[in-house]
Amino acid sequence: MPSVDITFLVEFIVAYVAVYYVLTSSLNLKAGVTGIPDFGQAMFFAVGGIVVGNLAARIAAALAGMDPSLVIAENTTTLEVLNSEFFPNRPLESIAILVVAIASALALGGLLGLLASYPALRLRGDYLAIMLLVTAEALRIYTTYSVWLMGSTPTVGLTLPSLLAWTGDPGLASILLTLAIAVAVYIYMERLYNSPAGRLMRAVRDDEDASKALGKDVAKVRRNAMVVGSALAALAGVLYSINPLLAGSSVAAVSIFDRMLWTFWPWALMILGGMSSNRGVAIASVVTGAAILGPIRLYKAELARLLRVDALGFDTDKFAAGLEFILIGPLILAILFLRPQGIIPEPPSRTLPEKDIEEIKARTAGQTGSETPQGEEEPPASDTEAR
């Protein structure tokens, strides 16, 4: 029996669940709620990692009085100095850099989502899916060979700045931060889902022509979903990259753009949980994170040894490497065959009690004297962020 470090396992699983929840719910907003089949999710996720490894590291180098261009040219040595001397002793600067990194990741992810929404406004269904997949792959190949962006070696990639080193336990600190953000995202998604913006997104998904006929700007709805969803995916990328348990000390184009990990796993989780179902996605993240992702990613080598695959003639290491994928393929197929609607199917949208509606009607009638205008019951969260 291999020795299992329970604390480490729990921390690892919690971190994975939180990052995957943020990533999957951002996909759910685009694909599940609005109906944009985004198969380029990895590219938005990668933005987060690139921002942390590039921008945050360069800012830190500039603040420490080093040449920022060295961060890429002599990535490892420069960041070793920064990680051992700068970050542990400068909490204020570290926090500021973290805030800047999160803000720029949100902005860049949103911007990339805005660009990607251009085809989303024109193309439908599988054409759009293939377009986004191809774009993400092309960007992966571009960054792999772009020394200025991802360092000189495609497999090693960028050494990450240890932005939470000042807390003394960066692993735990990043988990707490990730967990807090995941909870915030969950609350935001719950509110968005029951807001007019969320209802409109589902209306556009279900019947575009009817939404158009009612005077809704379908293109704008799609664009908003792409921008918000992609920004959240980039946030997930940041959360992954600042976590020493998940990303380790460096991030490479080949791993952060990985189709399987960051596009297909979220798709699998979303389908498992139930498309367009926020609670379903959360439960699926927790269940698969606790049952599959965490334990297998951490202990697959031990598991392969435990199963005595070498006795069957398999190479233990290779078997372990293939284990995760050989589980997810049949898992997705089983869901598609047995429960295509997911663990928790899309819930009916919650409507306000009649009393409240009457009250709002009376209030607006008193204010404007006109018929009820569109979206008067909109909560402020969705008003500022989703619209």
């Binding site: 191809v134 050989i326 049949p330």
Partner: protein
């Protein structure tokens, strides 16, 4: 002036892309969904070819991998692997491709279509199949020690599964230039398959049925055509061409990234889908044309840009095919083949009138 090697590289690469695009198109016609697992079928073909050739040499042939030399006037071909070994590789690559494709169609896609799954669920299903196949390849690949077997038989020169060091050499005495066998073989092979497909579709009774089923499945069914049988044939062709493309990829070497143990088709997926979309996803011959267009864009144009600007863009050539896909989807969503037929149809009334 563009180097001769670039032109031949382009021909070799275009051939493989055209074969893969053709398979994607055929699968799309029958399921209305892009088969994400298609490049993986080429992987299976590559593995099957390498393993069968190594096993054949090891178990059946006594005189090693064999060499031969043919002289045709000024043309001299030096083969580094005997033709029968290559034939074994092709046959097993094609068989493995067909089995994988049929397994995907009958075990995964067909049952889901019958349950009324939408395109998203089907797309996810092809991804799941892709996962399963790559993991199985990864584990089985070490189980039967394909790599050790191949390098044991073909010698130390093969790292990963690439056999490009064993490609035939064609000495063009006239040009004073040595050509690699794959450069002609891939190009001519894809043309030969296009020709066979043309004969099948336009000169046989089955071809009439196939075209009818492609054009209008429900009408074809009403007319008593067994659409299911036609779709099965489409998937057999799709798998066979992918398997053959996998065999070709083994010898591609520096033209595309060599076949590695983990994920040989990853870099090709962009180009293959690009070829299928540029050519028009509903047009069988359009996809072959699209494959050649993408090959030309990726190899020839990137090389020209490099020559003109002095900046090496050849590594980023996938960006060019992405651009080709984007432009096609935005300006001619039905692909180039549709544009062509629209032109013809626009001319028809005028021809009748005049």
């Amino acid at each position: 002036m563009v180097d001769v090697k670039v032109v031949f590289d382009m021909l070799a690469y275009s051939g493989v892309i055209a074969l893969l695009s053709l398979g994607i198109t055929l699968a799309y016609i029958t399921t209305r969904v892009f088969n994400f697992a298609h490049p993986r079928i080429a992987n299976v073909g590559a593995y099957a070819a390498a393993a069968s050739m190594a096993l054949y040499v090891d178990l059946v042939r006594d005189e090693g991998i064999g060499r031969f030399k043919v002289s045709l006037g000024p043309l001299e071909v030096t083969g580094l692997v005997a033709p029968d070994v290559l034939a074994v590789g092709i046959v097993f690559a094609v068989i493995a491709g067909i089995i994988t494709a049929l397994a995907e169609y009958y075990l995964v896609l067909r049952p889901l279509i019958e349950r009324g799954a939408d395109f998203l669920k089907l797309m996810i299903a092809t991804l799941a199949f892709d996962f399963f196949v790559i993991a199985t390849l990864f584990i089985l690949g070490t189980h039967i020690s394909v790599k050790e077997l191949v390098s044991g038989v073909f010698g130390r020169e093969t790292t990963s599964l690439s056999l490009h060091a064993f490609d035939a050499r064609i000495d063009l005495a006239v040009l004073g230039y040595k050509l690699r066998g794959i450069m002609l073989f891939s190009f001519l092979g894809s043309l030969a398959i296009a020709l066979m497909l043309y004969i099948l579709l336009f000169k046989t009774k089955l071809g009439v049925k196939m075209r009818a089923s492609i054009e209008n499945p429900s009408l074809a069914e009403v007319l008593g055509i067994n659409v299911q049988q036609v779709y099965t044939i489409a998937w057999i062709i799709s798998g066979a061409t992918a398997g053959f493309a996998g065999f070709l990829i083994l010898f591609m070497g520096d033209i595309v990234k060599p076949v590695t143990a983990s994920s040989p088709a990853d870099e090709i997926i962009v180009s293959a889908f690009a070829g299928s979309i540029v050519g028009g996803v509903n047009s069988v011959f359009g996809s072959i044309g699209g494959g050649f267009i993408i090959g030309a864009v990726e190899i020839l144009i990137s090389s020209v840009i490099t020559d003109v600007t002095g900046i090496d863009v050849t590594r980023y050539n996938k960006m060019l095919s992405m651009l080709a896909v984007a432009l096609t989807l935005l300006f001619a969503p039905q692909g180039l083949a549709a544009l062509y037929s629209e032109k013809i149809q626009a001319r028809l009334p005028r021809l009748r009138g005049g």
